[in-house]
């Protein structure tokens, strides 16, 4: 898909989203009304509640609660910690909530905790955890292939579609990040013959830590003089790499793109160290999870295309070969021009 087609498609999707949302707000949905009437309790468990990403998700969940009257809230998880997160889910089971929406830190440790939830009859909705087994449904803002390709398009454009690059993920055990990186690499191989993946070090870890991303980038740049770009996935990757680019004096010679929050990166984008970042809106993802939880609790049949009543999630389709993973079209790109227009 070339850029023009892509932008046409995107604006169509966004326009469609707007059109739909004009008359399909969550508050009008039958299942959401029922959830509010029955007083069902829906808890959202983020990875790291201090991370601006999940702070933003909380605003979505809170907005859903105030607009619809549904008893939904986001749990304060504190710092990113797989063990603590699994424990938090167990605490919610003990509290007897009706549904748990979770963005897992680690697939394996979360899966066993979610099994207990399912056994207790609790509805489980996940986000960014497509390989979880013990869930009713997992929703993804988009297909991982689609988003990975989307990041690669942004990186390739910055790099002039040529040169050596590598990929960065929060950790090698992170589900979605690695799928994006794989998809980005696959997309590059298909569309950008003049770009090559750094075979000696095809993937590095940032531990979801801006300082680690910065140090890793500096080390990569020293070790591999030919390297020209890093494809980031976590929201700390590209900003951390950008700090290295800035310090080493490599603006316009070394490039990065990846997920990033607008307000946090406004300065980087405007200074030109980073050309563009990619994103979806975690607030809307949070609303979509709660909306789907309401539907499942209300006993509504979940059949594709599923309409979760929020922008970018109005035509959710099954991931190929899956009966639990739903994918939308919720990606967006941010650059120097539009960075101030998001309001977060």
């Amino acid at each position: 898909m070339n850029k023009k087609m892509f932008s046409v498609l995107m604006s169509t999707v966004m326009a469609a989203g707007l059109a739909v949302s004009a008359y399909a707000a969550p508050a009008d949905s039958e299942s959401v009304k029922k959830a509010a009437d029955e007083g069902w309790e829906i808890a959202v468990v983020p990875k790291d509640s201090t991370n601006p990403w999940f702070v933003r998700m909380k605003t979505g969940v809170d907005q859903f609660a105030s607009e619809t009257g549904v008893d939904c809230y986001q749990v304060d998880t504190g710092t990113i910690d797989a063990v603590a997160q699994a424990q938090q889910v167990k605490d919610l089971i003990a509290q007897g909530v009706d549904a748990i929406c979770v963005v897992p830190v680690d697939i394996e440790s979360m899966d066993s905790a979610l099994k207990e939830a399912k056994d207790a009859g609790i509805v489980v909705i996940a986000h960014e955890g497509a390989s979880l087994e013990n869930v009713d449904y997992d929703i993804e803002a988009f297909s991982n292939e689609g988003y990975g390709a989307f990041i690669m398009q942004n990186l390739a454009e910055a790099m002039g579609e040529e040169g050596v690059y590598t990929t960065m993920v929060a950790s090698l055990t992170n589900g979605s990040h690695n799928e994006w990186a794989d998809a980005g690499v696959a997309y590059q191989k298909e569309h950008y013959p003049n770009m090559t993946l750094l075979e000696e070090m095809p993937r590095v870890e940032s531990n979801d830590n801006g300082d680690d991303a910065y140090n890793k980038a500096k080390e990569l740049i020293k070790a591999y003089p030919d390297l020209k770009g890093i494809m980031g996935t976590s929201s700390f990757d590209a900003p951390g790499v950008a700090r290295a680019i800035q310090e080493l004096g490599l603006t316009d010679q070394f490039f990065t793109s990846g997920t990033g929050m607008p307000a946090d990166n406004a300065e980087l984008l405007k200074s030109g160290v980073v050309k563009s970042l990619t994103l979806w809106d975690p607030a809307i993802a949070g609303e979509a999870m709660v909306d789907l939880a309401c539907k499942v609790l209300a006993g509504e049949a979940i059949e594709a295309p599923v309409n979760l009543d929020v922008d970018g999630y109005t035509e959710m389709n099954w991931r190929e070969g899956s009966e639990t993973v739903l994918e939308g079209q919720g990606w967006i790109t941010i650059d120097a021009e539009n960075v101030d227009s998001f309001g977060f």
Binding site: P52, I80, D211, L248, D264
Partner: protein, 345 residues
Amino acid sequence: MRGRIKKLFRSNEPYIFLIIIVLGIVIQIRSGQFFTGNNIVDLLSALIVPGLFAIGEFLALIAGGIDVSFPALASLSAYATTKFLLDREYGGNVLLAFVIAIAIGAVLGAVNGLFIGYLNLNAMIVTLGTSSIFKGIMQGTLRANQLAVIPAGMKSFGITPFISAYNAKNGLTSVLPFTFLILVAVCALMFFILRYTIFGRGIYAIGGNPISAHAAGFHVKRTKFIMYIMIGMIASASGICRVCMMQQCHPTNMLGMEMNIIAGVVLGGVALTGGAGTLTGCMLGTFLIIMVQNSMILLGIPTTWSSVFVGAVIVIGVAISAYQANHQGVGSHQHKSNAKKEAVS
């Protein structure tokens, strides 16, 4: 003179130093990029925050205690300070940030000191508890989230180069910010305090044997109390350094650092049982860990194996330190009794 050399090789420092040099040569051979100005600058700049934490941990261990609360303490005081200055649209220099953070750090450290010193509770349990409390205050009470913009004074302090190293071969310029001077200053100050003050001698004496330290006339409780206040102050200064260098404040960024810091200090020959160890060893051990962590890619170790490799260096290093301590126990005991003797005199 001979006795001096013998004593030197009985301690850990020369071995750690040797390992650093050997590892450096290996990295140099693998990548050609170790002994370059910009790489050394990169490593020194990565050492600043962990180095400051290590000095605090070193004090706690020497006194026979331990501190696992310093990352949370530093996060809380750095976040509260940055947020406070931002809310007041503070435009002055970085000094005020340090003053506020260090003051908060002193108060938080005093909480540790009160429980560990005056109430004589187990340092591990107390600091585990206060760590949760500090995190709780930060995330619950203050609703901490990432601050993308920091006050101008902190910003410029974090990037203004103290030394900048240009590598002509690859055209890279690495910057060592002025925060490095904070590390040097704290190091020098602690060296002086430990060597030339009664208080510093007391820290060693308490770690060797609190009862005889008391008998020798040291104020055991007061010394511990003041020491944990100092640890809090050092950790908070470190927190501000991190915020300045990162050019933003991410409240959970430092959490989880405690284990590698403790490993580095122990690697440097500081006894977990207290009373023995040197500041030089502490800094060398910490530098070794930083060096290993930041050389995995230069060494060409695949990402899948890098944590195994870092872990292996820690285990082997600490094992060697422990072996040294056991088999030359005479040396370390002598050290302790020396400290006591001097304390008495």
